[in-house]
Symmetry: C2
Subunit: 552 residues, 2 copies
């Protein structure tokens, strides 16, 4: 593995905005622009264009002043903040034998846990009226593009206290930069990586994690099911500047050699603690799928398509008993609150095809998720609600409506939804259409889908394609929601386009490398005053300029 990894963006440099309440510095990316050149009375006149600030998920990788060594892990940004709260203690060792067995990662950080079983979640602090460094950090982060400073630390606190937003921030993942997920904030995107039993190794997964951060992934789920799950995750968490989520059930089953019937509370509990102590920021837990829901599925075209949902449904059927995640949900919350691991309530019954969308099973589970939300909040555990799936456009709105009605304002986190089933190989697009719509309606985070969904595990280029498609959906939603400043980047880029400042246009885009590559495929000089679309004679923007000069 290459120890030194860097993320570079053209004509960009890292800036840090200082906190006013806390001693914090929030990293952002500043894009330097060239001058607009116009001809006035035959003379060239240069007008400066101000730099544009961009929300940055690349963490220290894009700061040349910070030493990077993958074998050492990222700087532990939040370590001091957590220690200074004095409500946690460092354990003498990992609680789980799987934690103790450790990994090939060279440095061991002993885990922290809340003192005396108390809650140490951002929700807990918010409810106490405390503005943490994490809260001020995300407030600064959300106020981008020179927009009005509408997001204050106090607003962040109040949204967290109400459960309308979460900051996934496990005390054992101090490397991650705080970020917020909530309907009144910028729409976030999650990316999934992870080896399966069949493919990919540690190196590849760590590289994918950084790759996801480079293109703008806000959170990262490690969905590994193969061997070396703990080890792979250790390398990822120690080197990832964004929150990391998992589905703990997967590793639990690996411990049971795949024997679903052997699943019980003790081994699952052990896995939760193992992962909490490793630093996982949020867990997907399929606690809302009940035995009574199963008969509702009998006419489905594609049954259960959630991996976790199908496993627990299988277990309930074979063991003839209720979902143990449901029956042990309070036990789960008592663990999670001691590490500030958030719970993402999984939608095990999400529809797997257009034909199954919005059926009785799907909404029955959703209402249980609402019930569980209240329980989690009682323990100050931060909650996300997972949503579909495959949903045609005319059935998307009701998903948001039902979620708002039943889940008390907890942030919605959807997979797409895919708006048609007929385009395997292009499901980043079928789902970006649905994701943009549901995000506009208020969904706080959208889980990306790659072109290889339904077909194979994504490689690096698939991850890039999926992330960019979802950055588009999220940004389109931010604009539609009227988020202060969201549109400034569009305007700066379009002004560059009109000025034929090609490089500026590309540098402001979601994927500068791709834009430049396509542009160069047109065999043009970099400074030509037209593009290959119209050719040199009938370029619309060139003609507009000529006309404007005529009118002057």
């Amino acid at each position: 593995m290459k120890k030194e990894q860097r993320i570079n963006y053209p004509s960009s440099h890292k800036i840090y905005v200082k906190g006013k309440i806390h001693d914090i510095a929030v990293g952002m990316r500043s894009v330097t622009l060239t001058d607009t050149v116009s001809i006035v009375n035959g003379e060239k006149v240069f007008t400066a264009n101000p730099p544009v600030t961009i929300y940055d998920t690349s963490g220290p990788y894009s700061d040349g002043n910070i030493a990077i060594d993958i074998t050492k892990g990222l700087p532990r940004l939040r370590q001091r903040w957590i220690e200074e709260r004095r409500d946690t203690e460092q354990l003498r060792d990992f609680s789980s034998p799987y934690g103790i067995a450790g990994s090939t990662f060279p440095i061991v950080h002993k885990p922290r846990r809340a003192k005396d079983g108390q809650a140490v979640s951002q929700m807990y602090y918010a409810r106490q009226g405390t503005i943490t460094p994490e809260m001020e950090y995300v407030a600064i982060r959300e106020n981008l593009h020179g927009g009005e400073q509408t997001v204050t630390p106090e607003f962040v606190r109040s949204e967290l206290a109400a459960g309308r937003a979460i900051i996934p921030a496990n005390i054992n993942h101090p490397e991650a930069e705080p970020m917020i997920i909530g309907t009144n904030f910028l729409v976030k995107i999650n990316t999934n990586i992870g080896n399966s039993a069949l493919m990919s190794g540690i190196d590849e997964e760590v590289e994918k994690a950084l790759w996801s951060c480079k293109w703008g992934g806000d959170t990262l789920m490690d969905l590994s099911t193969g061997t070396h799950i703990h080890e792979t995750r250790e390398w990822i968490i120690r080197n990832t500047p964004v929150p990391v989520g998992t589905v703990p059930l997967y590793q639990t089953l690996e411990k049971l050699n795949g024997n679903i019937e052997d699943l019980d509370w003790e081994i699952y509990r052990d896995t939760l603690i193992e992962q909490c102590e490793q630093g996982v920021d949020y867990f997907t837990i399929h606690a809302g799928l009940l035995r009574s829901h199963l008969p509702l599925l009998k006419n489905r075209t594609t049954g259960i398509v959630s991996r976790g949902g199908s496993i627990i449904a299988n277990w309930m059927t074979k063991r003839r008993t209720e979902n143990l995640f449901y029956t042990h949900f309070e036990d789960i919350c008592r663990i999670l609150k001691q590490y500030d691991t958030a719970v993402s309530l999984g939608d095990g019954l999400r529809p797997g095809c257009i034909d199954d969308a919005n059926d009785a099973g799907q909404f029955a589970e959703l209402s249980v998720l609402g019930h569980l939300t209240r329980i989690a909040w009682k323990h100050h555990v931060q909650v996300l609600i997972e949503g579909p799936g495959h949903v045609p456009m005319h059935k998307i709105d009701i998903n948001m409506d039902e979620q708002l009605k039943t889940c008390h304002g907890a942030p919605f986190y959807t997979l797409g939804p895919l708006t048609t089933d007929i385009a395997p190989g292009y499901d980043h697009i079928t789902s970006a259409i649905g994701a943009a719509r549901i995000a506009w309606l208020g969904t706080a985070m959208i889980c990306y889908v790659t072109p290889k969904e339904h077909l194979s595990l994504p490689d690096r280029q698939d991850v890039r394609a999926g992330v960019i498609a979802y950055k588009i959906a999220a940004h389109a939603a931010d604009i539609a929601k009227g988020h202060a400043g969201a549109q400034l980047r569009d305007k700066a880029l379009s002004k560059a386009r009109f000025d034929f400042r090609w490089k500026d246009q590309f540098n402001l885009s979601l994927d500068p490398e791709k834009a430049l590559e396509y542009y160069r495929a047109g065999h043009l000089d970099d400074d030509s005053g037209h593009c290959t679309m119209c050719g040199p004679h009938f370029c619309a923007m060139k003609l507009t300029k000529e006309m404007n000069n005529c009118i002057k």
Copy 2:
């Protein structure tokens, strides 16, 4: 150039559905499926899956029984229908010297024109109460997937008569299969090809045309601006089974060596006739952009981005006179009606960035398009209304509302719209999001955008990516609109997915080749009962089946 060109789809064959009123046979694609295999009492049980019929834009290229020779052109499907109407006559020669100069295409078809200057448009016939073969053809074509036969020939006629739909069907392009564009029919997609002064030759453009038809392009605009415009178009029209559109202004300007000021009615009129006699099915004409609109643009970020719009604005400014397409609009209609060339009223002031969306200039032009629609209809000329462009999601609906309010129900035909400016290199996605939305709201045809929009001319793979993105948007809208039968293909594909009938799944998809390519990248046997996403142990659909067997 390769003379023999074929379009092949896996496990598919061509079927023809006969007309009941006319002696016509409508080509469709039938996809054969394999059996569902289930285990009952330890024995394999095979259940047949019916074939699925798919709307087919590939014409004779996918029929092995029809001889194809690019140097001869396609069979002239509509020749007999047109002749039997006895309202047209074959001219002794082309009316324009540019038509007479001809091209390298080996066969010359003398042009036809209406007798005595009468209208020979599908709208005219519909208003007379006549159901033409073209109308019955599209009625059969629209009733797909075994859905109810809701689209009757009489319904088609009534929609055409009301101007709510058009069948672009120049009497000099009898090679094209009739298709219908209207809000009460399947959403159609247009693709743009065309060389610019800088790039691409005849071979490449003809190949792109077939390529577009292969993937599902419903109509094709030839936007060439370079040399050999007439010649390139001749090869395209003679070999294209879908309607072909142009912007006649482009060729007019090539005749004037690019000197915009020299543009006048006589040379433009000559170009219209030349192209009508060659077989162009619809013209984009920027007749709604008036001198009085230009002051409305002064605060725009990107001015005019329509090539045609910028040319005519330039001309008006330099000549200090009103738009000649507007002042001569009745003259234009008198030409078009004699060939049944439809007019697509261009939106020269479509916004070129999010910041310019829905401004006064854009809507001022739209209301003029509504006025021109009435004039065209007076002459029985079929009308499309072109729409934007760059529009954020929250401003899309008002575009449809305004179009409905001002344009008397004429079909809307939009370019995207793009919902953000910040993703050059991915504008097929930024725009598919907007296109899906506006198509759901009633837009009849969406003009594709390729990944290279704003950057370079598209190559074959860009055309494919653009077409598939737009097929997705159109199909998602068809489902959302509740078009009878639209969802059956999704259901058949999803059933195949649940059955692990991988090949069936791919064969039913929009791009079977891409799906298979991605699937094979997972290194699996073709008949494995799981995919590489979940791995063999925790495949959700496999577990669902096991559970169902348990419950039984």
